[in-house]
Amino acid sequence: MSGASSGISPLRRLVRAELAAGIAGLRLFIACVAIAAFMLGAVWMLGAGLSRALSENGTIMLGGDVAVEVVNAPLDADLVVRLADLGTLSEVSELRSTAIAGDARTPVEAKVVDDAYPLVGEIALAQSADGVPTLAEALSEREGLPGTVVEPALLSRLGLSVGDTMTLGGGTFEIRAVLLREPDRLSAGFLVGPRVIVSEAAGRAAGLLSSQGLVDYRYRLRADDGDAQALAAAVAALEPERGWELETPADAGDRVRETVARVTTFLGIAAMVALAIGLTGAWAASRVWIGRRVRTIALYRLSGAEPGLVVALHGVLVAIAAGIGIALGLAGAGVLAFVLMDLLAARLHLPWQPAALASAGALAALTLAIGIAGACASALSGAARTPPGAAMRSADTIPTPRPRDAALGAAAIAAAILLAILGLPDEILAATAAFGLVLAAALLAGAGWLVARAAARVKPRGFVARVALQGLDDPAKAAMRAVAIGIGIAGITAVVGAQRSLDTALRAELPDRIPDLVLLDVQQAGIGPLTARVEADPLLGGLQASPFMRATITAVNGVPAAEALVREDKDWVISGDRSFAWAAEPTGAELLGGAWWPVDYAGPPLVSAEEDVQEAFDLVPGDTLTFSVLGRSFTAEVANIRMEYHRTFRPEFLLVASPVPFRDAPHSWIVTLEGETDAAVDALVADLARDAPGVTAIDVRRIVDDLTRVVEGAGLASLAIAGLLLVVGALALTAIVAADVDSRERQALAFTLVGASRREIAAARLAEAGTIGALAALVGGGAGLAGSFWLASAGLRVDFAPGIVALVLPLALGLAAALAAGIVGGLGAAPRGRGQLVRRLAG
């Protein structure tokens, strides 16, 4: 038998024999691979699925190739005609309203659509008794009643079912179908209630579009010739006098996109950490396995097997085990990603392709395969170098790998990390994370090396200290052990620290539950009775009423607003209609400069500008702002600059003007109030339903509770990820500790013979492992904290708030590593039980 060519058939026979005997020795290896594969696969598949769904569906999310949006009043008819000339046009209007059925009422997000809606994508309606109607059928008038489709939440809140009727605005609608998905959902902002869709004719007839309330008018265009860019340019060239917001598919769903990018970055880096730890575990586990087989390998060599055959045999066995691990992990990941993707896509109202998952899964498998090959290189190279003579010696440590093989292994691991970088949405962030991991590994190796150098210098007298230091004094080994334990600590600390920061930030972004109730569209005549009703109830209070109007800033100090802009990122303050109110008294907001006008001020208009406006134009009190309200233009001096917090449900206005002349303009009011008990608030809502059906009541309590649930869900999910990392870490640690159990047991026997007590052996081992553990905890934990700081601030863009957990965790992990090694290699190393010791010694 010579050469690889004639070695194939013996190889096959040997592999078959080994497989028949079982590869239980590789269980730990398989577990490490499987968990790493699960995390990597799940994260990549989910990330790929989500980002593909978002990037491919921009047109669907926007509802067309180009969209323009105005608030309050529709575009002039002639402008609409000119828009319609440019392509296929669809008009959609959105407003908040209240749906009423009997005594029950609930705020809804009404959407009034024309026949062309949807221009792109599809509305999904639920199957009903007589099949699935088309949207046109569902909205059409039947026996004098217009139809509507509603989201399931509306049915449960009002206790209705398909076929029932409800009141919306001034009209009665028959519910014809349940709305499952609307393609352009992500173009809408934050929804405070379930969606209700009605036809334009019916909506108009019900007075939905003529109210004083806030209506978003959206005009979507589809290019007839397919040239979306030319269409966008043509629409932009129309340049109406009143500002509008022009959007292309690239802008659609940017808030969701940003969230998804944040989340995938976090997940991706967690997965990269899992990959690093998993590979460390695979490296250690493969060395344990080969180490236990040194005698077997030597026997193979004695009976004529060449090194090539030995490597081939073990390579095949490891590959089979790796295949099992990857398959198990990716199968689990696939199921999880599919379920989550289905759930998320439904919530985002987006279609998605399972094919996106498959390619991400394949990439994960490739990455893992390359990484595992690299991780196993040293063990396999050691196997190749096992001399036949090892069968006769008691030595059962793996020979050191050839430098060439070690370098090849390192290169393969580097390639896997490179693939992991390319697999993430944000390559720069991923590369930085990978670089951080490598840097942490280098620091750990350097620290281990230094400790070994120092240990080699000291010669203490006591047995414990001497044996402990003796175990530390090999620089290469100490460096390797510090990396093996510390890299997991670093990665886990980084992810947990970032997770804590994210959780803290999400919770901080939760709006306060004050006020409890926001009332929209309260008419002038309704303010008096409402105030009286609230004052009469001792459990209600905190009533604040603000006029609710819209204004467009057109000039600053006489210069057209677009030219006066000094901060590009604040251009939204001049795009379209912005919130506007008048107030006689100070609103209570903090002033950054200037002063409020006197309560009885009746002179020419003065205006209070929000901080964003100040930043947009570098405004100082005394400058003038020109803005249009309800078609009329006003120029007012800036009296003060206000700061608003954006995390409350209180109305916030970009501009607040002095009362004259706005107080006499037609407008509705927005009212906020607080209730001491839920019942008092509920009673008021019921009264309003009877007395002021036009008022939309937004129940902040319910919204905040919903948001809290979402945030808590996100926190739980990221906690699960951190937990999974801990599991991989524990497995890798088990493998690392197991890697030298055999040699530790031999040592312990020798120590026992010369009269060392069990306690001394354990103390020596603990001191040794404790040194490495402490080193790994300090260096790895430090690197991890630095990593989590970077991850939080650069990756997730939240404040760094690692919490006590991230500080204590590395120490706990280092301690656990030391204890595990101390117990396994020390206390448990000398066999217990009658007859055990003599069998080991004399056997």
């Binding site: 007298r461 007590s757 007859g835 004399a842």
Partner: protein, 251 residues
């Protein structure tokens, strides 16, 4: 010789002092099929300065006997007195202390610490005893066994005979009053084995310690002062080859 001078008690041991005394010693091991009686009533006394060979077929209980006398195994019956300590009732701490102070053990499989050099291995008992100048004593002992040129070698780069000589040096370095050797030459070729045995004998004679030597080698057994043959856990024959005191005087 430094070792005997430093660690022997001030009053020199009389050759007739009993170092090991076994009375009706019994030992059984637990097994799935119940207890297996391995030693079934062994009575034996070993005096200081005496070299006793223990022979017997495989499985007869020789290694078990060594383990009990070395305090590595607790008997299940009878009594074991080693250097005045009743081992059958001693706790692990006492037994460990006895081994550390007064007993040297050599096994067929060497049992060196792979990560330590020959010198570090030999110095171990001195380190455990907390003795000053352990290094020099260990060096001297290694030279004694003919390994002065191999001090900084690790076990993996020593031959079997060399490893066993390191183990012998380690067993003798702290000046034990009793040395137990379980087939120390079993892994070695005849010439190397003879060399190792000779080193052990001369170290024993020089220190005045007692040596209990398990061996299959008939010739080696005959070189001892007394031969004890055991079979199935009982002493089946005892043969005095020479009187150690007289032999010591002759030598």
């Amino acid at each position: 010789m430094h070792a005997p001078e430093t660690s022997f008690p001030p009053s020199p041991a009389k050759p007739s002092d009993v170092v090991v005394s076994l009375v009706d010693l019994r030992l059984s091991y637990p097994s799935p099929e119940g207890e297996i009686a391995v030693l079934r009533g062994v009575d034996l006394a070993v005096r200081a300065g005496e070299i006793v060979a223990v022979t017997g077929p495989s499985g007869s209980g020789k290694s078990s006997l060594i383990a009990v006398v070395g305090g590595l195994e607790t008997p299940t019956g009878g009594s074991v007195r080693v250097l005045g300590t009743a081992l059958e009732s001693a706790d692990e701490r006492t037994r460990t202390a006895l081994r550390r102070r007064d007993i040297g053990i050599v096994f067929q499989a060497y049992h060196l610490v792979p990560a330590m050099t020959a010198l570090e291995n030999v110095a171990l008992p001195l380190v455990l005893a907390g003795e000053e100048g352990g290094e020099a004593a260990a060096q001297a002992m290694l030279r004694e066994v003919g390994l002065g040129h191999r001090m900084s070698h690790r076990p993996s780069s020593l031959s079997g005979g060399e490893q066993q000589r390191v183990a012998v040096a380690r067993a003798f370095v702290a000046g034990p009053r009793l040395v137990l050797a379980d087939e120390p030459t079993g892994n070695l070729d005849r010439r190397t084995g003879e060399h190792v045995a000779q080193v052990m004998f001369s170290l024993t004679r020089a220190s005045g310690a007692a040596l209990v030597l398990v061996t299959h080698d008939e010739a080696l057994a005959r070189a001892c002062d007394r031969i004890v043959a055991i079979d199935e856990g009982r002493i089946v024959e005892e043969r005095v080859v020479r009187d150690p005191v007289a032999a010591g005087a002759r030598g």
